[in-house]
Amino acid sequence: MDQSKLQAILEALLAASDKPLSVNQLQELFTGDIDLPGKDEIRQAIAELQQKYTGGGFELKQVASGFRLQVRAEFESWVARLWEQKPPRYSRALMETLALIAYRQPITRGEIEEIRGVSLSTNIIRTLQERDWVRPLGHKEVPGRPTLYGTTREFLDYFNLKSLNELPTLSEIRDIDQYNPEFEFNDEPEVVAS
């Protein structure tokens, strides 16, 4: 593989990945290709990329677990304005997916799609994993070996729950519904710390 193509592929990988990538990990991503680049070639290409980003809006940084592209700190005052206006909200699709994972774990993406009757975009589960609320538990031993998902300790912490048992059951939710159409709890309002 010529050096400029290798450099472009590495740039694509580093830009797309949401986690830092080590030289080993990067090399593994070429597995199966005819010309597997050597580690030195990869290091060389990374050095060239670092050079290339000089003076730009982001840089290629080495952190403990590998390399990652990150916005240069000097531009943070502009970048911060991106979120100043409106507080972000999760989509209904994401909330329902989270609820199904919480209540029906372990569950596969296909099962979620079947219950919801619509196909699920890949970034929903990714967002939930990035938030550390959802994690893969293993694979279901059916054709395709789909990943099984469940909730995390952080999920319970966020919602102030000691265990999943504390999640109200469906009939309890419906009871609450009847008494209180606006869906607010009578006794203690659950104030969720962010």
């Binding site: 972000p88 538990l137 519904d177």
Partner: protein
């Protein structure tokens, strides 16, 4: 032209449906001799009567503007019978189309006044609909072939260093979560086929615990999952969780001989 057309139309039913290199094409589709399972998949792949008709026409390289109605109707009906035989759920639209084809066929047999315009070709409406459907069938394929997010297109995910910027994350309350669950279950229950059985949550939680343990250890003693300190309910919950995991083929139980210890392992 008009005379020729009338002539052609009135003769239609007697004509072989097509001649290919001088040989009349048989009416029974040769490709019907395929295993029933594959056939089922094949038949289910049609998006409706227009799709099926288009397939029949395209397969034989017939110009869509000059469909031999008698022959196509016969083939169409063969597929309909086949679908009935295979007990495929036959949408009403297929039968409506069958009636439409029969009507066109009978009108083709009637001699039409010579002065008639081509616009009165009994096939005109069918041909228009077929072309219109074909147009969007193709458009759908073209759309599907475009580069798109999640498939060919990936956005960059460039980190923002955690300095003073605190990228806010959406806030979610337990109420939000519960109402999302209620909504999805309510909706799923509208479709009779998806019945969500109510299962105590503790069983689900225990299922996850069991799965975690067996992924860490190769063989886990069955009895290890029962902690008497949890009381009778705890034991029952573990037991039900293991049964449920077995039912979902996520784990298996291994016992080397009768009365030997039972081990739980991940299904492989």
């Amino acid at each position: 032209m008009h005379e020729e057309f009338t002539n052609r139309a009135s003769n239609q039913s007697e004509l072989p449906f097509a001649l290919v290199q001088g040989e009349p094409l048989t009416l029974i589709p040769q490709d019907l001799y395929i295993p029933p399972d594959a056939l089922l998949v094949f038949l289910e792949a049609f998006e409706g009567p227009l799709d099926l008709l288009l397939y029949l026409i395209k397969r034989q390289n017939i110009d869509i503007l000059n469909i031999p109605i008698a022959a196509i109707t016969k083939q169409y009906m063969e597929y309909i019978h086949l679908m009935k035989e295979l007990q495929l759920e036959l949408a009403a639209e297929y039968l409506v189309m069958a009636a439409m084809l029969a009507e066109i066929k009978s009108r083709m047999l009637l001699p039409r006044p010579v002065a008639d315009d081509d616009e009165d070709d009994p096939r005109a409406e069918l041909v228009r609909r077929l072309q219109e459907y074909e147009q969007f069938k193709q458009a759908a394929e073209d759309l599907d072939a475009l580069d798109r997010l999640e498939r060919e297109i990936h956005l960059t995910s460039i980190d923002i260093p955690k300095l003073e910027i605190d990228v806010p994350l959406p806030e979610v309350s337990l109420n939000d979560l519960m109402s999302a669950f209620r909504d999805v279950v309510n909706r799923a229950e509208q479709f009779a086929s998806h019945h969500i059985e109510r299962e105590p949550l503790s069983v689900r939680e225990r299922m996850v615990i069991v799965l975690e343990r067996i992924s860490a250890e190769k063989f886990t003693n069955f009895t290890d999952f029962f902690d008497p300190a949890e009381g009778r309910m705890g034991v029952v919950v573990s037991f039900v969780a293991i049964l449920e995991l077995l039912r979902e083929s996520l784990i298996e139980l291994v016992q080397s001989e009768p009365y030997a210890p039972i081990y739980v392992k991940a299904r492989s």
